[in-house]
Assembly symmetry: C2
Homo-oligomer: 222 residues x 2
């Protein structure tokens, strides 16, 4: 159910949830179980019910795929989740590392209208605090050019547009290094040995970025 804007670099174009997931590749029962911390047996049971209701395409032993209807529902959930995250950060002053769990609860409040009003109240934000895209009322959103920081070269200049991981430890760590959405920087060095990079954030001192970190920061070349 979780969308991964990260996997879709390239041109700006319209997309739906399918574009945000690994297109057409079924997810395994075990992976789902792992993701939601439940047993594989429970996942099988539930998936069968969702299949009955036509929210997923499921054939035993072959994994699971969202149907169009399931995708629509999932997109709505993603929309709600991300708008609530915006609210928590923009209006209640939470940090980007604190909002996911709260949004997980708020997203289950049933009311289309509430979310639409929330969106208006927030002035129609296009991205959530982690840089993820917010689908509009109709489920559409605009894709964005982006690439992992690890793919940049020396002397490139770039802007941080998102993160691949929402883990609060990771986000807090980035925060401590003053790395946040919107900051611009230049690549000073890239070490062939392990791919570590030295970058300099405009108006600040140079920082060393480990390859694992670099892979999980999404940037836009400028």
């Amino acid at each position: 159910m979780k969308a991964h804007a990260d996997q879709v670099g390239g041109k700006v174009l319209k997309g739906d949830l399918q574009d945000l997931t690994k297109k057409g590749i079924p997810v395994s029962t075990n992976d789902l179980a792992e993701e939601i911390s439940a047993s594989a047996a429970s996942v099988t049971d539930m998936i069968k019910k969702l299949n009955e209701k036509k929210y997923v395409d499921y054939q035993r032993y072959q994994g699971t795929l969202l149907t169009l209807e399931g995708g629509r529902l999932a997109t709505k959930l993603v929309r709600r989740h991300r708008l609530w995250e915006c609210f928590l950060v923009e209006k209640l002053g939470y940090g980007w590392e604190e909002v996911h769990e709260l949004a997980e609860q708020l997203e289950h409040v049933q009311s289309e209208d509430l979310v639409d009003r929330l969106e208006e109240f927030l002035d129609f934000p296009r991205f959530d605090p982690h840089g993820d895209l917010i689908p509009d009322r109709t489920g559409r959103f605009t894709l964005r050019t982006q690439q992992p920081l690890s793919s940049m070269s020396i002397d490139d200049r770039a802007e941080v547009v998102g993160v691949a991981i929402h883990d609060s430890q990771f986000l807090k760590f980035l925060g401590d290094m003053n790395i946040e959405i919107g900051i611009q920087f230049k690549i000073l060095e890239k070490f062939d040995y392990d791919g570590s990079m030295r970058i300099v954030i405009d108006g600040s001192q140079p920082t060393l970025i480990s390859p694992v970190i670099a892979k999980n920061i999404h940037v836009k070349k400028i």
Copy 2:
């Protein structure tokens, strides 16, 4: 679980949830069942569990009372509910007749901190859109002098401070008559026959108020 500020006219003083409910009078199993639209059997089952957890005092056939701990929990829920109602009206532009059901969902989001921040964001409102008191972080609140409009006499001037019924039909009806929290008016006539009243809202035309309506509007004499 629902607090009734209406039952406590009189002097301004500190209170807790006990003050807001019919003090010490146990609620019957059937009344609870009616209130939540469940069977009496279900209520008995659940009450037994709450009794186990010490949230209520229950003895079979004798009805149910909140314990101190249960009261504290209930107060928190009431606080959350009312703050969310404020949010929906103040920030998202909902009408007072639309917010109860949404707040019923939002109140179940688990996070003390979230509610405290919401309260601050709303500038520490003391009353919700229906004029009900909002407990503070510690569960305390200040009682307010009030009486039903039906108890006023000719030539009295008063201000609307709340409503006894939260039914959306009733609230919409009041709205249509331009009766809302904060408006001030004068009693022109009171008909002995059935208790109907004619009132005039400052800067408007006189209106006729039926006794049922008058009983459910809380006012403060001025």
